[in-house]
Symmetry: C2
Subunit: 225 residues, 2 copies
DNA sequence: ACAAAAGTGTTGGTTTTACACCCATGG
DNA sequence: CCATGGGTGTAAAACCAACACTTTTGT
């Protein structure tokens, strides 16, 4: 029986939300070495009997207090450069989480502090977390085009304008409100009308919708910029 | 200092090519326990000082003899269910490799045998490799739509018809040769004409092309089926 | 000359874009 | 009544599927 090289495996999280009209990522201040006191992505070691997805969900809950049910969570990719962790060989399986606007998270067990930071201002994170964050943002941007993922940034019930705002903020580009409306209301199974309306955005009352069952967006949302 | 759970990490490969007008995957017969004698995806343990990408490239070369330069290699995703390997906790980072038609591979160090199998006939692989293979094929199908990835299945120089054949075989759908031709020759930086022609497909000589520098396909190739 | 495959032109229908315009509310 | 945003109509432009047709080879 040969001996297998020994690794530790962590699950790290790129948690994105929209706050104050900005695309923000969740960062925590590390309470332990290495990189103690520096900002990093939330995450932690996968336990011996735990599935990767489950570990990511647990970390999300521990470090943010977010109920996992309301959050979209998907695997992003893995990172395993030999020297990415100074302690020992660590492979991290990064996950991408998208959440509606939520209360400011409280510090968890391993984190001295936790906060939302606009993605363009999240720099110099610990380990290789700058690159992981960039990959996560890039994935989110790409998936808005051809999936209903933008709805993950919205509350349970939302208006077409709120959904459009998600696109505009994530992409950093303006979209025509009229054509956007036609497009998303025309896409099969994307939106389910609740029947009620709201005036929370001002002006004429807007219909409220819930996410539909669509898993892809046909035709895709054209990204002009 | 806390103790970190111990994992082994492997790099497994979904290697796809087109042979005899079929989309084929590379499978190896395992020479060692567990699952000795059964078919599995090629792969092996990541070494203590080796990057994940490098491990995948090394395994590809070891188990197939393919020169890595001619092969497209990208990370697929990671799999880490607690019981996926009966020996101990193993997380595998799966990679997707796309290669032009190549000589039948020879068995490597860990593999008693190696061969190309049409993807629809690759079933009952060891570990969770059925699922990994399915994910790899799905990824390849999806990426043909909006990336120049189909060219990875072609030789260095190829004709438009050969490229079209890739789409037809991977998607299992027929495409109009005329419109396909216009589309791919019109896409910016997708194809670079070599200036020479070939009659290897019969009929009127066809121009030969090399891959261009494009990283995405605008507009995407419409998948009708 | 004929078959076979490459490649171009054309046409009619769909989709997209840009914007005019009306609708329903709060102040 | 006015400002504000929600939502519909519409014409010009762009795009695309389908297929007739021409080109260039091998036999």
């Amino acid at each position: 029986m040969e001996r297998y090289p020994i690794f530790a495996v962590t699950a790290d999280l790129v948690v994105l939300t929209i706050r104050d009209d900005r695309l923000c990522a969740l960062v925590v201040r590390r309470g332990e070495a290495p990189f103690q006191g520096e900002w990093a992505l939330p995450g932690g070691f996968v336990r011996p009997d735990e599935d990767l997805d489950r570990a990511a969900a647990r970390e999300l809950e521990e470090e943010t207090g977010l109920a996992v049910g309301t959050v979209h969570l998907e695997q992003l990719r893995s990172y395993g450069a030999p020297a990415r962790d100074p302690r020992q060989r660590v492979v991290t399986v990064a996950y991408l989480a998208l959440a509606p606007d939520l209360p400011t998270p409280k510090a968890g067990t391993d984190a001295a502090d936790a906060r939302w930071v606009p993605v363009e201002r999240a720099r110099s994170l610990a380990f290789d977390h700058d690159a992981i964050l960039a990959d996560g943002v890039e994935r989110a941007r790409a998936k808005l085009e051809y999936t209903p993922l933008a709805t993950a940034f919205c509350a349970e019930e939302f208006t077409v304008a709120e959904l459009r705002r998600v696109y505009e903020l994530v992409w950093g580009a303006e979209l025509d409100p009229r054509n956007f409306h036609r497009k998303v209301t025309g896409a099969a199974n994307l939106l389910v009308p609740t029947g009620s309306t709201t005036t929370r955005d001002g002006g004429r009352p807007a219909q409220l919708f819930r996410r539909g069952t669509a898993t892809t967006l046909h035709p895709p949302m054209p990204r002009t910029a």
